[in-house]
Symmetry: C2
Amino acid sequence: MAQVLYDFTAEPGNNELTVKEGETVTITNQNIGGGWIEAQNSRGEVGLVPEDYIEVRECGDDFSISSLSHPALTTTAGSSTRASVASNGNDPWSVWNTDPSGGSNNNWASNPEGTQTGKNAPDPWGSHGHPQAYQGPAEDDEWDDDWDDMKSTGGYVESESGDSGAMQRGGAHATSMKISLNKFPGFSKSGPELYLLCKQFAKGKDKLPIYTGEVGPVWSYPESQLDCIVHFHTNTVNHRYKHFDWLYERLLDKFGSAIPIPSLPDKQVTGRFEEEFIKMRMERLQGWMTRMCRHPVVSSSEVFQLFLTYKDEKDWKMGKRKAEKDETVGVMIFSTIEPEAPDLDLIEVEQKCDQFSRFTKAMDDGVKEILTVGHEHWKRCTGPLPKEYQRIGKAFQNLSTVFTSSGYQGESTLTDALTAAGKTYEDIAQMVAEQPKKDLHFLMETNNEYKGLLGCFPDTIGVHKAAIDKVKEADKLVATSKIAPQDKVTMGKRASTMSYALQAEMNHFHSNRIYDYNRVMQLYLEEQVKFYETIAAKLRQAHSQFTTM
Amino acid sequence: MAQVLYDFTAEPGNNELTVKEGETVTITNQNIGGGWIEAQNSRGEVGLVPEDYIEVRECGDDFSISSLSHPALTTTAGSSTRASVASNGNDPWSVWNTDPSGGSNNNWASNPEGTQTGKNAPDPWGSHGHPQAYQGPAEDDEWDDDWDDMKSTGGYVESESGDSGAMQRGGAHATSMKISLNKFPGFSKSGPELYLLCKQFAKGKDKLPIYTGEVGPVWSYPESQLDCIVHFHTNTVNHRYKHFDWLYERLLDKFGSAIPIPSLPDKQVTGRFEEEFIKMRMERLQGWMTRMCRHPVVSSSEVFQLFLTYKDEKDWKMGKRKAEKDETVGVMIFSTIEPEAPDLDLIEVEQKCDQFSRFTKAMDDGVKEILTVGHEHWKRCTGPLPKEYQRIGKAFQNLSTVFTSSGYQGESTLTDALTAAGKTYEDIAQMVAEQPKKDLHFLMETNNEYKGLLGCFPDTIGVHKAAIDKVKEADKLVATSKIAPQDKVTMGKRASTMSYALQAEMNHFHSNRIYDYNRVMQLYLEEQVKFYETIAAKLRQAHSQFTTM
């Protein structure tokens, strides 16, 4: 059962349900995706309603954001040590694995919700998560607890001028929905053509130049890199999880065809280890923000800047409405891209695309292997191994107690030493159990974050493959007079532009990857060294208490 | 099927079987103990035959012995680092556990073969052994391979002058058997009285003085302590395992009531890990010899000296015959003991006995706990743990391979470092798997040796408890005229002598124990420190290859 927060009028033929503020409905399917849920009203009518219009009580956390602008990498280094992850619950590669010949269309078709599905999975890390954080059952949380407050103070919908709030929201979601429909089942037929065959691009849009750097095509990087610290439970600028979700949806719509936009960390799981889980979610949300800030295209986008520079409700709502009306979304993002290098021929375009496809697939396998062994290692380090060291420690101490009872003179040096050795092994047990949080955790989080990022590539690369396929069909389309000969030339040029975008994005990915893995491996090994050195020092101390008589 | 090597004439009423040299018999029970096996001849008659008279092919090893005499502890320290063990396969304490009120008689009755049974158990270490050494099935080995040679060159039986060889051997074994029968089922009724009520002790026997040292009653220690190195496959003085077995039997018969004589290391198990097993058996045989050498009473006994100072067959056989004729065996050993301190009253005697009984039982539990956790730890260190480190190492290396395929510039520093880190974890895997042999092995062996020693205490303490019970009955025996009033006084004095012997032995045990555990713990912790320091150094090296760009 859920409460309707705002009026919503169904659009005919869209399987939507008209609801009124204050009405009670039964949620029949929460996993629709795209900002919609399926609900049933008291008359038994079933249909889709915008998620935001319905009050589903969720876990409440306060977020606030401080954004900083400073020279690249220095402070980013600081923030990226708080290893952070966005994750995908299902495996977008799976179709490619089982049907390698199927190409991008099958991929889209078999995985219609793309990276979105992960968001609603109860366990976002699948079998790769940290066991502590996942053992509690998923419960209704109270994430939305002062979504109510928003409503009482007007929220960010009703006070909008122009169309009625309901229509406005409906409209906004309709836009969102249109993109989703473009991207999903119908995509392969209509998707890339939107851009490849577009007669005229929108004027005055911010252009995205692609320069030729040392490593090949690169995005235009700002002189100072943005950083952003997400505060927890402070009262400066409240950006609730819903706002993050809204930002994610906007970024996915706008950039998803060109840039992997990782899912937000899951917001639903709570339970026995709630505190630890909330901490990890914060870490991951921070990681997501940091990654977005590090992206030159995303971080300088109007919608992202709007999110970061929130000043007051009025500005926010204006900006929000503008962002939701943005039509340069989906494949149309390529219309803003301006490479400085000469056009590539289709063979090069296809080679690059295939190379990136192979690499991201292989890295996805590599990352998952690390997550699997890391997860096993985590379990051993927090389970049987410390128990064993504890038992060794106890056995030494028990023997010491027996020896003490001998009544023999000159026993105490040995028994004191044995007790100390036993306590040392108990200390080691505790160190072993606590170590994964100090090192393995960050290795896991970084790889989890990359797993999330890599999970976006099948979608992104799928757009490019579909475009290449379309360009390959161009001769036939010209022959059957579906397109003009000049259109074919345009398609080739635009496929080249897409390829530059993909190359710039891959170079960005590689550069970040090299930085991230260097950092996390350094941190991991540093902590491992400390761990083993501390154990050695403790044992050396225990050793010194025994005598050779 | 087995071949009879020498004529043997059964003694009537002893359930023995007469056999002739060259006859073929079927072994129906090899686990009789006391040097006997049960066999069936071709006419279907079944009976006991001396083990030595029958050729059972066993595993062949050559032993030789160098004995050294030198100042106490300095060289013993050297030899005791080659941690060494004799073991008992079954648990002589078990009766005490299940029936604590049963006292020594029950103990003997329920465990009629005493410490001997361990020798014939297929797995001498039970569940506590090192897994590598035990996984092979027990097979017929060729221990006895040149027992045949002995036979062809006359062996050490036929050339003996005096009685016929067969009768001599039969006689010798009859002596051994008499002791066994005294000690076992019939013991509690006749055992301690042999000594307590003996009218006159044999003259001219070597006396065993007990002095009052700082820690209480102590044996007389030689000025220089004997040490003995058992060589393997050399040709100086060949003492075959059978000779060790003969020595063990003599020592057990002669000193077993006063001094725990641990069983020899098992000689039967062979199989997949034969080489490792033979190495461990050598180590344990060395440990057994070292422990016997360290014992002031055992090491200075005629039979032990005979064994060590073997010069030629003739001297050996003469000494052997003399030893086998020794009548100061079993409880009669106490007749040679001469404490310098005044007699103890029965309450003190009983208190001491109970105290030692409690201590040895408690230590047995403590030692077994260490063996159990050590065994678990051994399995983990040689099984799942290195496999996990290997998988971590492989995962890093696989990721490195993927990264190498990126085609991105400036990749090699990271990929080289990742590969090195992966190899480091593979190194660590190997170190983890090999470490138990360097440290845990010696901790296990020392505790195994003590398990064997402690397993002898129920027998030794049982003798004392039976004597105490007998002294308690003295008044009743006087009243019913079974003994004279003077006999009661004699019994009390002799129980006091026995108590001094037990106290001297316990003080010897404690002193050795403190030395042994100090040494083995030092060795263990030293190796553990090295292990963790080496890992830390390797990881530090791996760490240094990553850069912060």
